[in-house]
């Protein structure tokens, strides 16, 4: 026992280094220092004679103990620094991992709202602080964020940040909590999408600078992603437009061919029948042939409306402008709808001094035709439809007035909406609700305006198309001197 004691006493302090190292790697420098002192005291108390006392007899052993303390302190310092290094490395790795995840998430973002939630998520994860996003509205104002309270000071500077529209990060200090908020406008090449505000908390200038730097790096990444989304969106738009175009062409080509070929057969065959002497002599047979012809005209008109509607919906109305006599347009419209106007009296009032109009005569003729059809549909048979054209300064006003059901105040604002049909007539008068809508778009494409006025229910209505006219001199229009 005696022979072993010196060995044990010199080994003991080394054994006591274990808790010191553990404390240093687990909890850092101060717990390790404490562990060193406690270990030294314990070694002294339990192993250095006299045992069970803090006294030490041998001065040699005092030196041993002091050496032990120094070693413990140094190694705890080294171990804790190692720990810190590891910790930093781990943090850096986590950051890199996060940033990598973030870029991956950004790469998967196809809409701005996806992007916003990715930013929010990432900032909350890496900084442990919430980020809020102020989305920009189309009028340039910012929407208030849905999540999280935002201090008043931040709200105020948000407006000025947007007005400045710079790409730099500005910081705002919330006076009540001393938290620092970073604000950055997020914009693509074409538009400002909104503003991100990040609460990076309070702290020393150095830590804030590091955080600011990180947030900036992230937002830079975000801006790049936004530009990519912008490009992708433009490509997507182009693709959709192309699809719409293809669909429209298919509809115009195939469908129009498929629908019109049988119609052409029916119409043509009926017209041949109509010229056969036996049928011409038989009143009943003739009226049947006429019914076929009328229905075909009706169907053909409906197909034309559908084709027009697809043209309009696909955004494909490009007028082919040419100087035209407005009289020709009205006459052509009346002639094309002649069969459907037989039950009405058509009166024309065309002024002598009408200027020429620079329009796509086909489109305006179609619009007038739609208005004529509506006039015939919504007025009793036998009543008069007045078609007029007059000059108003350099403009030409084409009007179609009927003596029909008129328009109520409630209905007025809905006119011109696609598929709008008044409740009053849904059951009694057939129609698609496309007519006036198509007419107004066609007229608009020609630089004209269209409006309907009615003195009230049951008092008839007047639809007017106003078109800009030629500025040619009066004598040039009507004079006979021109040779």
């Amino acid at each position: 026992m005696l022979t072993e004691q010196p060995i044990a006493a010199s080994l003991v302090p080394i054994a006591y280094l274990v808790p010191v190292i553990i404390a240093a790697t687990r909890w850092g420098i101060w717990p390790a220092t404490l562990a060193s002192i406690v270990s030294m005291a314990e070694a002294d108390f339990f192993f250095f004679p006299p045992i069970f006392s803090f006294q030490v007899d041998d001065p040699q052993e005092v030196i041993d103990l002091l050496l032990f303390l120094v070693v413990a302190l140094v190694s705890s310092n080294l171990a804790s620094r190692l720990r810190q290094e590891t910790e930093t490395l781990r943090q850096r790795e986590r950051d890199i991992q996060n940033l990598y995840d973030f870029s991956r998430r950004l790469a998967a973002c196809f809409t701005v709202s996806e992007l916003v939630s990715a930013i929010d998520n990432y900032l909350a994860q890496t900084l442990g602080q919430p980020a809020v996003f102020f989305a920009a509205r189309s009028d340039g104002q910012l929407e208030q964020p849905k999540s999280g309270p935002v201090p008043k000071a931040v709200r105020e500077s948000v407006t000025s940040a947007i007005a400045a529209a710079g790409n730099s990060v500005r910081s705002v200090i919330d006076a009540s909590t001393q938290n620092v908020w970073l604000l950055r406008v997020v914009s693509s090449e074409t538009a400002i999408l909104g503003l991100v505000a990040v609460n990076i908390g309070a702290g020393s200038t150095d830590t804030l600078a590091i955080k600011t730097h990180r947030v900036e790096a992230i937002l830079e990444e975000v801006s790049l992603t936004l530009q990519r989304i912008d490009i992708e969106k433009a490509m997507e738009d182009a693709r959709l437009r192309l699809q719409a175009q293809l669909l429209r062409d298919a509809f115009h080509g195939t469908l129009s061919h498929e629908l019109r070929t049988p119609l052409a057969t029916i119409r043509g065959s009926a017209s041949v029948l109509d010229s056969v002497p036996v049928i011409q002599k038989d009143e009943r047979a003739r009226s049947l042939v006429e019914a076929i012809t009328d229905e075909v005209a009706e169907l053909d008109g409906f197909i034309q409306s559908l084709l027009n509607a697809t043209r309009v919906t696909a955004g494909g109305v490009t007028p082919h402008l040419e100087w035209t006599d407005p009289r020709d347009i009205l006459n052509a419209a009346i002639k094309a709808r002649a069969r459907r106007l037989v039950a009405h009296k058509i009166e024309t009032e065309l002024a002598d001094d009408l200027p020429l109009v620079n329009v796509d005569s086909g489109l305006i003729e179609e619009s007038c035709g739609q208005l004529l059809e509506n006039a015939a549909k919504y007025s009793p048979s036998g009543s008069t439809i007045v078609v007029s054209a007059r000059r108003k300064q350099n403009d030409v006003v084409l009007s179609i007035s009927d003596q029909g059901v008129g328009i109520t105040v409630d209905e007025q604002p809905h006119l011109g909406r696609r598929l709008f049909r008044s409740q009053r007539h849904q059951a009694s008068i057939p129609g698609s609700g496309l007519g006036f809508w198509i007419a107004s778009i066609f007229v608009g494409a020609n630089g004209g305006t269209i409006d309907i006025t009615s003195p009230g229910q049951g008092l008839g209505a007047t639809a007017s198309i106003t078109l800009p006219g030629s500025a040619m001199k009066q004598y040039e229009l009507t004079g006979t001197t021109h040779e």
Partner: protein, 244 residues
């Protein structure tokens, strides 16, 4: 009236449309040849030497405009185009490529027959024939250059007469704006359609009963003008008289 039958070649892929066209033409005393594609049509045009060709634009093997071009490379036979699409540009293109007229589907037989007759009349007209063109109440003497309405002579300016002359020599057929502008204003104002519109307006004031509702000098929207052989019925499409 006993006359040798005019022969008409139908180049049209839809058999049902050929059927009513055949019936319609045969009722009017034409003899009919049918072809269901461009290849057969071109062969028939060469070997059967028809007096008139009705050509559908939408053929399975070759586009109608191509067929028209090939026919025009060796023949002046009247060609009337049938088409579903009614774009003005295409009509003008076809007329410039040598089509005599066009009819847009769906159409009535009366319309096609009127166009056919007009095209045939122009095709067969020779110098020895009566130089007076009659359009309803209007008559135009192409030799003496006199114009009368309801047998009363009327005075036209030089340009008005020029316009009427071109339309009269194409009576019943459409004449494009381009052609009119080129013939009337050979020089500087060729592209100015406004002058043509105004000239038409003035001519109408002299020859139409109601210049606001013209029934002789009618407009073909976006394409040109046509001088009707008969007063146009405003309700359109009345059956023609049966030729015996």
């Amino acid at each position: 009236m006993n006359r040798p039958a005019n022969s008409v070649l139908l180049i049209e892929d839809e058999s049902k449309i050929r059927r009513f066209l055949r019936a319609g033409f045969e009722l009017q005393g034409y003899s009919v040849i049918e072809a269901e594609n461009a290849t057969d049509g071109l062969k028939a045009a060469t070997f059967s030497a028809p007096d008139l060709i009705i050509l559908d634009l939408n053929l399975p093997d070759l586009h109608g405009s191509e067929v028209l071009e090939r026919i025009r490379s060796w023949s002046n036979v009247p060609v009337i185009i049938l088409s579903i699409v009614s774009s003005e540009d295409e009509k003008v293109r076809l007329l410039q490529a040598g089509a005599d007229d066009y009819v847009v589907k769906p159409f009535g037989m009366a319309e096609l027959l009127a166009r056919s007759e007009a095209a045939l009349r122009r095709y067969f007209k020779s110098a020895t024939e009566n130089p007076v063109v009659v359009a309803g109440p209007l008559s135009v003497d192409l030799v003496t250059r006199t114009v009368s309405l309801n047998k009363q002579p009327i005075r036209l300016t030089r340009k008005e007469y020029r316009l009427l002359h071109i339309l009269a020599t194409h009576i019943g057929l459409v004449v494009t704006h381009d052609q009119l502008l080129k013939d009337i204003w050979s020089g500087n104002q060729r592209d100015n359609i406004q002058y043509l519109r105004i000239l038409v307006r003035k001519l109408r004031q002299k020859i139409e009963t109601d210049p606001n509702r013209p029934r002789l000098l009618v407009t073909e929207s976006g394409v040109g003008y046509r001088l009707q052989a008969r007063l146009e019925d405003i309700a359109a499409d009345s059956p023609p008289e049966i030729l015996k």
